[in-house]
Symmetry: C2
Subunit: 344 residues, 2 copies
């Protein structure tokens, strides 16, 4: 079987199955509209730790522990762990994975990391290199603010286009058992640079990458947006979401209500986050609660999950570099095997 | 075929082949003992660019261009590019890959990145997800010093255990044609934390991970060090190299002269680099010149390539965290197919 379709889409011969999934979040996220979908909500964002970095590390460890416990999966069953985060040199993931006795592969796709880790985990399983693999990612408002913008104590003003980094982590354990949800396609994106240099407007910087990957995926697979119950980008926020809709509208394609952005779902209008939510933990915690729950309950049969990442750092922004974006997309199927074939 | 051996080793069913490889380095590296193995030596470490970050980006682009040109491989033949580096949020790799029209997957394993990228590229090819994939990584003395230690202008003294970050980049293009060198095994490591907190003694922090991965690989495959012409770690330097030898000696295994560290090969004794060389570009430029050249010429038949990474950042060191290490190992076979079966 040819596992490549068109330009970039990978089709799994035996779609790996989601054995278990979990997400843990901070206090503000736990007060938002998705509060009932999280496995654990911290009422103190230090998570009882002495530094923000240790707190974020705790989030990753807890998300994975919850996923293992919910699925009744012994820790030693996980053969390969793929993890990444926003903090310099991926230390949250490295520190969070210290206790694991399995192979560790660090991945980086900024806020698209969940799709990269999950997509690679699926290729390793479908390729015969693992029977159980896990993907984990996280973000924390306080580690991200300190590193990318200002110390919290500075109290800087946020422009209307800025987004609020989610404090949260999501973990998915993939395996080979014959039960939905399945992961059926992975379309790893290319780097798209639209020349945006404003680090307070990430949605605009990443939207062209989302459009490119979704369009390529539809062409590669001969599908259209209406073949999916729902399409989720990761953390484009209001501005990026609107840009993606506009791009498709110019092609004569109306995405409509089936297209939502995780960055617009996790916080309510009254929570004062300006253009929406962001961070690796945004897409990850919406996927590992809201989306996978609905795929399991049968409310969704088929979902496109397409988180985006802004591939910059604080030095590159200071040096006036533009912000390259990337988007990796995955198809998750909730229907029983055999009923989930492509319609096109 | 079962592609997993023992605890962690992945065995390729149809070992992917090295289609081409290249490395480019800075001035100091070009004055060292391996000077004749590099494809290009810059006599100015700015590489004609306006920032150190742009210079390192240039190194990655040039290494890949040299590899494509040497192999007569059209750029559009590369379907997936895996890249990573030491700079915050992997920006060198993201910026360096901006012109590529292929899928981009960011990887992070600190100085073990070349083995992670190459190993994953091989799983994607052997798994049927690509026919041509590339792995690229780099480091630059000036970007690393500024980020991890002090601005160059500060002129800080370096302790005897410190290592010198290599200015260089290596690129390997893997494919499916039936010609050596082949990549036959990939053993992705676990995170090993020996409790070292001295960021000026990376060799000691990483050596336990190298020992763990090599020992696991030998057990998984039923091989011994003498089944390999040569065993290379990435950038342990003199101190880490000695620790690895000691660990094996305690098990009754003498590694002897067949075990070398890339960090002890790239600079001469007279080049005043203290404990040796380091950086993603160290293992990558030794692999893409010295090692692969000897596998092609037939001087080496079978090599273990096992670079290590120190998974820390400057914040974690300031917070007193210990330095977790990781080591991923690969087997490269120079002999014609069929003659390169495992002896054990």
């Amino acid at each position: 079987m040819n596992k490549r379709l068109g330009k970039r889409t990978l089709q799994f011969e035996t779609p790996p199955s989601v054995l278990s999934h979990a997400c843990v979040v901070g206090k503000k996220e736990g007060q938002g509209p998705l509060k009932d979908t999280f496995d654990y909500i911290y009422d103190d964002n230090t998570c009882g730790e002495k530094s923000w970095e240790k707190a974020e590390t705790r989030l990753q460890q807890d998300a994975l522990d919850h996923a293992l416990n919910k699925g009744g999966i012994p820790r030693e069953q996980v053969e390969i762990l793929l993890a990444g985060d926003l903090i310099n040199q991926n230390i949250i993931s490295s520190f969070g994975s210290r206790g694991m006795e399995c192979s560790y592969l660090g991945v980086f796709g900024a806020c698209s990391t969940m799709a990269e880790g999950l997509g690679l985990a699926a290729t390793l399983i479908d390729g015969g290199f693992a029977t159980t693999a896990a993907a984990v990612t996280s973000s924390h408002f306080c580690t991200a603010e300190r590193q990318f913008r200002m110390p919290l104590e500075y109290g800087g003003q946020r422009p209307p286009s800025s987004q609020w980094t989610v404090t949260g982590s999501g973990a998915v354990i993939l395996g080979t058992h014959d039960k939905p949800p399945y992961l059926s396609y992975f379309c790893p994106g290319i780097i798209v640079d639209a020349g945006i240099t404003d680090a307070n407007n990430m949605g605009a910087a990443m939207a062209p990458a989302a459009y490119d990957t979704l369009r390529t995926f539809f062409t590669d697979t001969g599908t259209t947006p209406s073949d999916f119950d729902h399409i989720f980008t990761g953390d484009l926020g209001k501005i990026g979401h609107e840009i993606v809709c506009d791009f498709f509208q110019k092609d004569g394609v109306t995405l409509g209500d089936r297209y939502e952005d995780c960055g617009m779902l996790i916080f309510g209008e009254d929570q004062d986050v300006h253009a929406g939510a962001s961070g690796c933990g945004c897409a990850a915690s919406v996927l590992c609660g809201h989306i996978l729950n609905k795929l399991e309950s049968g409310e969704y049969q088929r979902v496109l999950f397409a988180p985006t990442g802004a591939l910059m750092n604080s030095t590159s922004v200071q040096q006036g570099e533009s912000i390259p974006g990337i988007c990796h997309c995955l198809v998750l199927e909730g229907a029983p095997k055999g009923q989930a074939e492509r319609k096109a």
